[in-house]
């Protein structure tokens, strides 16, 4: 059961681990005392924040950062294993914005069960992308040259590296902000930033495990953005959100 107060947020976990979502628009202070080895997957800070992951001791975490508006946020996490209490928070030095700590999988030492609720299948540059209406098409682009000889037969010449994958990702009716996505993962604003960045990106695709409970494996590809298009479907002025359909094509480098 999670309890909240004005300074930091405590989460109590049972041995199998839990997933919690927190929403706050207030300042929260950080606590840092790590006393046991806990691996945190996909810890995410969203909205406008510049964050640095401060000394976490034996706790490892991955912070996905968004654009900065001049405020600074320090992310810290702590585990007090004797009480089975895990607290996580951020101190915000300036600015007024929402900080949302999204879902994360927690694996305590020795734990092998993955009890996460919504499991994202895709991550771009290490940031999970929303599953809301997501479609994924994958095509194989063979690296070969086919020459037709004088006698009509064909010679096929293969390049040394493996055939390349081409990925087409499509979403319909996704919000701009991730906090309005059903799974709180990165949504249209993040996808458009990826499309605007011409450097190569990493696309991670999660593999299915045998029973849906063990920790996942994944494949990672280096990809380039080939095309991006979007259509504005709806402007919801009451909650200040735009809804888009997006299409992103990525080719493996």
């Amino acid at each position: 059961m999670a309890t909240f107060d004005s300074t930091f947020y405590n989460i109590s976990f049972n041995a199998s681990g839990q997933k919690f979502y927190f929403f706050t628009s207030t300042l929260i202070d950080a606590q840092v005392t790590s006393t046991s080895a806990v691996s945190i997957n996909s810890l995410m800070l969203i909205e406008r924040a510049n964050a640095s992951v401060a000394s976490l001791s034996t706790v490892t975490a991955t912070a996905a950062l968004r654009e900065s508006i001049g405020a600074s946020v320090t992310v810290q996490a702590s585990v007090i294993s004797s009480l089975n209490v895990f607290s996580i928070g951020a101190s915000i030095s300036a600015g007024k914005f929402k900080t949302i700590i999204s879902g994360f999988d927690i694996f305590r030492t020795g734990l092998v069960q993955d009890t996460a609720g919504i499991k994202q299948i895709l991550a771009i540059d290490g940031v999970p992308v929303t599953e809301q209406t997501r479609k994924l098409d994958r095509n194989l682009k063979p690296l070969r040259t086919i020459a037709t000889k004088w006698n009509g037969s064909r010679g096929v010449y293969y390049k040394p590296s493996n055939n390349k994958n081409s990925f087409v990702l499509q979403w319909t009716y996704i919000p701009g902000k991730r906090e309005n996505a059903i799974d709180l993962f990165a949504s249209r604003d993040y996808i458009k930033n990826i499309a605007n960045n011409q450097n190569y990106h990493t696309l991670t695709i999660r593999n299915l495990d045998s029973n849906g409970l063990t920790k996942n494996t994944s494949n990672t590809y280096n990809v380039l953005v080939i095309s991006y298009s979007e259509t504005l479907l709806r402007r919801d002025l009451s909650n200040d959100e735009y809804y888009w359909s997006c299409s992103l094509t990525l080719d493996e480098v």
Binding site: L143, K159, P160, S161, N162, K164, G176, K177, A195, N196, Q198, N199, Y200, L224, V225, I226, S227, Y228, S229, E230, T231, L232, R235, L237, D240, E241, Y242, D251, E252, V253
Partner: protein, 133 residues
């Protein structure tokens, strides 16, 4: 009676009607991708440019007849047939920030769908495409 709406776009600093408006955009990448002998891809970068597509269904010609009393077909038609670059402003962020793009007109088409003699108003289906310079 004009509705109170947040306008999405301005052309040359003039608010354009939301009357039957659709909007989509896409990136145009001018990169050069070369496939090496090893099979790897090398990319020579150029900044991406945006292409914008708008359409208005049943858009009145007069501004006074649009649902939000903003510029209608007559203004779009006049803008389309100038040879100058067009300043496109889009309020695509939800916090009332306008993003400006200098564009050229890549396509304009319209079809007359109705002439209303009582109000002396013509209604058009309009399609307009702009490309960022």
């Amino acid at each position: 009676m004009a509705l109170s709406l947040n306008q999405l776009i301005q052309l040359n600093s003039t608010l354009i009607t939301e009357h039957g408006r659709t909007f989509s955009d896409s990136y145009s990448y001018g990169n050069t991708d070369i496939e090496l002998a090893s099979g790897n891809t090398r990319r020579f970068l150029k900044p991406p440019k945006l292409n914008f597509s708008f359409s208005w269904n049943y858009c009145p010609d007069k501004q006074s007849m649009t649902v939000d009393a903003k510029a209608g077909r007559d203004f779009l038609y006049t803008t389309a047939f100038t040879n100058d670059p067009i300043l496109l402003s889009i309020q695509s962020d939800r916090n009332n920030e306008w993003k400006n793009y200098t564009c050229y007109l890549s396509d304009y088409s319209e079809s007359l769908v109705r002439q209303e003699l009582s109000t002396q108003t013509k209604y058009y289906n309009i399609s307009m495409s702009l490309s960022e310079i």
